[in-house]
Amino acid sequence: MLLTCKNIDMKFGDKRVLSDVNLNIEKGKIIGFLGKNGSGKTTLIKIINGLLSPVNGEILVNDEKVGVESKKVISYLPERTYLTMNLKVREFIDYFATFYEDFDKDKAYNLLADLKIDAEEKLSNLSKGTKEKVSLILVMSRKASLYILDEPMGGVDPATRDYILDTILNNFNDDASIIISTHLISDVEKILDEVIFIDEGKIIKHESADKLRSENNKSIDEIFREEFKC
């Protein structure tokens, strides 16, 4: 099993945000991690990446606890702008190449060239959408076992969203898995193998996307809207 979450509980003060979360992710899957705002998606993602410590439970990546070894095989795109160092795009590529043995510099430069992004430009001078693309390029240029993309298409135009989806599909290997957390379900559902619905810190559904569509005769987006109707 690539990723195992066992009995994960998380609290912020008195507020329980994750409750007995159990999850198994196999290799070679594209998984949609779907839920309303505040349902616990980002919290669980942060725990998997070692950015938060759960109150209870255990996360295993390739049967190893979260730590240096798991970070070598996870490529993570946070929902927020995290490349805040005042560096040029080229310098960020060098940074990633320095710390990640699986980083493919040639792939990164090719992807930049496709988008006509100048590697000598400072990241801070680029538009929001272009920054998102550069962040995604850096993440997808790694030959990781698990890609975790938290709201990769938030706040970007539809054409950029299509580019992001194409980049995701064309640049990960069959042995890897991708977890995509997003609200833009209709854009992303066509590429999903599995879907996980999370609500109020609990996993309420984890199924094959095709099976869910055929059983309900609806799109994942429609099923989500019904499930989480306000």
Partner: protein
């Protein structure tokens, strides 16, 4: 991996501190040049005086700025948005922390070297060298040199003590859900008072064990006592720094709480 982390922190610090160092050295050179000509052109005395005052302010501000850049780097790279990048690197938490502690030491050392170099460029001449040698000989004859050296070493450790106290209080404050800066300041105050209470107890015990110092007529007795007292205080500083490292590591490892 520690070397790689240090490389990027050194680059970050260099961008901010090297211009400051160049301004310091440039000001020192300007003072020296003006000094060479002020006997001939008396109006230069005004500029000499103003530049000297500015130079002193530059040294003080430069030292404060160096401490500030270390604190800012600590917060930004470990507890703000950049933390999402830093804490997902395949490096240990201890290496992340050690990098910051080492950088605090390195930037301190470099800044002191530049300050000494700048002062030498601006003012050093044979009269001052002779004067310094005379003072050192006098202090040595009086038996004051050893405690003075120990005291200067203690001042260096005091800088590290305060830097790492700030790092630790930030590590604790930023592990909270809200009011991170307020919590950091509060914890700095709490830790400071705990440490001062321990120091007072130490002073009390030492004074109780050596009551003869209070009534001693022989300065050598007092100087010897002070040397041993400062040495003991230095040991405490080293222990405090070790405890601060452990607390910071523990908070980052088990209680990291990025926004």
């Amino acid at each position: 991996m520690l070397g790689k982390l240090l490389k990027y922190d050194i680059k970050w610090q260099a961008k901010r501190l090297v211009p400051l160092y160049l301004i310091m050295l440039g000001s020192a050179a300007a003072i020296r040049i003006i000094d060479l000509f002020r006997d001939t052109f008396s109006f230069l005395n005004i500029f000499y005086g103003l530049l000297t005052v500015a130079f002193i302010f530059l040294i003080i501000i430069g030292f404060i700025y160096m401490a500030f850049t270390n604190i800012k780097r600590y917060i930004d790279s470990l507890f703000k948005d950049e933390g999402y990048l830093t804490h997902t690197l395949p490096v240990t938490k201890s290496n992340l922390l050690l990098t910051k502690f080492i950088m605090a030491a390195l930037t301190f050392a470099f800044t002191i070297i530049v300050i000494i170099l700048a002062i030498s460029i601006a003012y050093m001449n044979s009269n001052i060298i002779d004067g310094l040698n005379y003072i050192l000989d006098y202090l040595s004859m009086q038996g004051i040199l050893k405690p003075l050296i120990l005291f200067m070493i203690l001042m260096i450790f005091e800088y590290f003590f305060y830097m790492f106290l700030i790092f630790t209080s930030i590590s604790i404050g930023y592990s909270k859900n809200g009011n991170k800066n307020v919590n950091s300041v509060l914890w700095a105050i709490v830790i400071y008072f705990i440490v001062q209470a321990i120091n007072l107890i130490y002073m009390g015990i030492i004074s109780f064990m050596h009551p003869e110092v209070l009534t001693a007529n022989n300065p050598a007795v007092v100087i010897d006592f002070l040397s041993n007292f400062v040495l003991g205080y230095l040991v405490f500083e080293i222990i405090y720094i070790g405890v601060f490292y452990y607390i910071s590591y523990n908070r980052m490892n088990k209680h990291l709480n990025l926004p």
